[in-house]
Symmetry: C2
Subunit: 288 residues, 2 copies
Amino acid sequence: MTVTREDRWTADPGELLRVGQGFRLADVDPDTTPGYEGRKKHGRSDLRAGAEELAALQERLYAQSTVDPSTPAVLLVLQAMDSAGKGGIVRHVIGATDPQGIRLKAFKKPIAEELAHDFLWRVEKEVPEAGFIGVFDRSHYEDVLIGAVRELAPPGEIERRFGAINDFEKRLSESGTRVVKVMLHISSEEQKARLMERLERPDKHWKYNPGDVDERLLWPRYMEAFQTVLDRTSSDHAPWHVVPANAKWYARLAVQALLVTALEDIDPRWPAVTTYDVAAEKRRLAAT
Amino acid sequence: MTVTREDRWTADPGELLRVGQGFRLADVDPDTTPGYEGRKKHGRSDLRAGAEELAALQERLYAQSTVDPSTPAVLLVLQAMDSAGKGGIVRHVIGATDPQGIRLKAFKKPIAEELAHDFLWRVEKEVPEAGFIGVFDRSHYEDVLIGAVRELAPPGEIERRFGAINDFEKRLSESGTRVVKVMLHISSEEQKARLMERLERPDKHWKYNPGDVDERLLWPRYMEAFQTVLDRTSSDHAPWHVVPANAKWYARLAVQALLVTALEDIDPRWPAVTTYDVAAEKRRLAAT
């Protein structure tokens, strides 16, 4: 008997990695691979198998939405310290799906027009429509992470944003969007090694930004800000998951599993045709 | 000696499939695989090899654009009769690249707001920025294809649009966008078989639209409209390529080759760092 993908997960990563009451970020070891008993080589082959599963579910979700406008959407929110592997998740997990069903948005430092609106203005425009998988590479959470650490907004405004985020995500959820929030969690040592690699390889120099070290110097304050975010915004309708990410292969596998689970919960179906008569259309087509 | 990818191309598909003076669409046999001497199984393995090549070029293009705003973009324009395989190109050719460097836009039937503007209004908003590969699944060419066949606009307006398209694409080209236009060309018999398959498989019913048969009944007029488009808008700065597409594997391989060639012509380079001092940053990072 061959070991199947499911056999190597000893627990549902959706439950295991989920941020609930009393969660302490400091207690998560970024080197671990919770719930998965395979190693890197297994992880890689399971990622390929999972990609097929995800793509099949994605196609059904999209198909259903062409007939039923109340079909859900999925929104994956990715947050992390620099070099934690958001790009790798997009490339290897999202990249293995059908681009036609993906809405990917990388949020950069806000421009003047965005700063002249409420912080959720630019975010609202990017939420996925029915049948799509949206992916936020950074998100409205920047406004309560770097926003708090760098004091880009006063404490009262940061506080207001937490309320606004919870209301926003509740509305998304109630209007049919499954929100999956992921913090990729690397250790400070791992970040140092990854940033150093960018400096050591000329083909990686473009990925390095001196600002990354400036932020790195504030690591403890960022961890505090993340803890606050997890405390304040991990809800039943939009839970956070903290994914240990020192092992890139594990982080990719876990995020893929979270997406597969979200889609399995939606359980999309091939839509039954109601807008035309199959037999009549066969005859009409045959006559051409 | 193993046969390499290039060995199976006996001619550059960019040259071979390009629409030049005196091109006759009626002379293209959709069943052929011009310039490629391999068969389906070779095509599939060459597609995988090409995907790595394309992804590597794409990363360099994106990298260059982070330092040099004058870096080109690439814009792939896909047009075809229904069921010709545009979706398969997006899934299998574009899907094998990094989604972070792709701007995909599927143009649907225009909505009221779009119709209240010039036909290029909605198109301009979707052109890719420096360093990106844009993909138009349908495009401004709908406005001179279905627009002409269905007489959605008077002949004088269709005529005006040809001029506007040429000016628009010239501007794109001169401002740094490499425009690669592709017509996927299937036979009428092949379309019939593909539409029938959609009717025969319940999991494909959602892809079938009775309107597809209505358009199919106008096949000769669409071929005329395509011939006019090719005559009027295949330019040095934005050439058309007609890709025989009865063999899906060939069409995918050929479009991939067109993209690889466009990127090779751009010849993107890992950018040299000018904004920071590598040695100084290494010391600064090491001290953290």
